[in-house]
Symmetry: C2
Subunit: 204 residues, 2 copies
DNA sequence: CCTACCGATCGGTAGG
DNA sequence: CCTACCGATCGGTAGG
């Protein structure tokens, strides 16, 4: 139901802790127990240091959350823009946008779970900025479906509902995907791209 | 991104608080801010009483979560069993199972968000029991698709992935649905049932 | 239903 | 990187 095995980068013993190590430990714990369910003591313990030492490598607990969320949303936007830049038809864009979005959620499960569940705990103005970035992805994704419906490439009852269904089924990959399961991230991404085309009634 | 408007039953002023009122307030706040992001002081404040008074109507904070999660999972199971009892074909069962599952998530958003995000915070043995109930729904839902694939009613590349996609797109309804939006719960449920049949390549 | 109170833990700081 | 410590808040209890 919740992720139990996370790819947590093991620190080389003896080396001193870096900002990247702190962010990585926070990703593991925020994903597993939630932002408010994780104390800085947990984060420090995972790194085998004391709580106050964390402050040499971060600004605050909410700063960690902000960095995780903003960086992840920027990655998603960058991948999406890559799709639009290299694909021209609605069917090609929808398949590729779905494929990279599903792939992202299979390969960045911790970050995706944090964006989904913990963004609401960000203080303003970070919260507003994060929400705007998500809405932007939502709008641009839906626009692909609207374009395909307008051109006749797609035959879809409700572009809005189809867009919700496709995006959310990709987001959910972070919830059920298991690294030791029967699918590779690429398997899932490819099949979800095909399912997206089916959902919008894409003409072959 | 997160639910902002929740159907919170307003207590009639002057009447004394009941166990149902406490559970209702907890649903609103656990859904909005998460289990660990909600203090019993918040719950009490919403009911306009003091924190210790809550204990006249509940066992503990985790008892509230357990009651919300278990009752919701029992409701879902009951609805699912109603579908199997009244529908015989794989296509009929899949459409109906999807319809009632989507409908549940549109009409019980608070409970659904709590089951999705907060179940992990349950202490054992409640956690194990909740996980088993979810796995049971997952197995039985997937079995419908396996039946349809075996009988030739469905044409689906991966029954397992199709099952994940359909169930998770229903679960996600709780995340984006808005009571004041452009769809009724029935609109969403009907359209999602059709999308489910498309996803498994159901023969008409 | 309340006031008064408990020990534990929280994020964060001082000062080396 | 540490020890020592801060005020605030947590879930929960005593005792009416």
């Amino acid at each position: 139901m919740q992720p139990t095995a996370h790819a947590h980068r093991r620190r080389t013993s003896g080396r001193s802790v870096t900002a990247a190590d702190v962010l990585d430990a926070a990703k593991t714990l925020f994903a597993l127990r939630g932002y408010h369910g994780t104390s800085l003591k947990h984060v420090a313990a995972l790194l085998e240091i004391r709580t106050p030492s964390l402050y040499n490598h971060m600004e605050s607990k909410s700063g960690l959350l902000r960095d995780i969320v903003m960086e992840t949303l920027a990655d998603v936007r960058h991948e999406f823009e890559g799709v639009l830049a290299t694909t021209a038809t609605p069917a090609g864009q929808l398949a590729e946008a779905t494929r990279v979005y599903a792939l992202h959620h299979a390969t960045h499960r911790r970050e995706a779970l944090i964006v989904s569940h913990e963004t609401r705990h960000l203080p303003e103005p970070d919260l507003g900025q994060a929400q705007e970035m998500r809405r932007d992805h939502e709008r641009r994704f839906r626009q692909i479906i609207l374009d395909g419906a307008a051109s006749g490439d797609f035959s879809v009852a409700s572009p809005k509902l189809a867009s919700f269904a496709i995006r959310e089924m990709c987001v959910s990959v972070a919830r059920w995907f298991r690294e030791d399961g029967s699918f590779t991230p690429d398997d899932v991404a490819e099949e979800y791209a095909r399912q997206a085309l089916k959902l919008v009634g894409s003409k072959p």
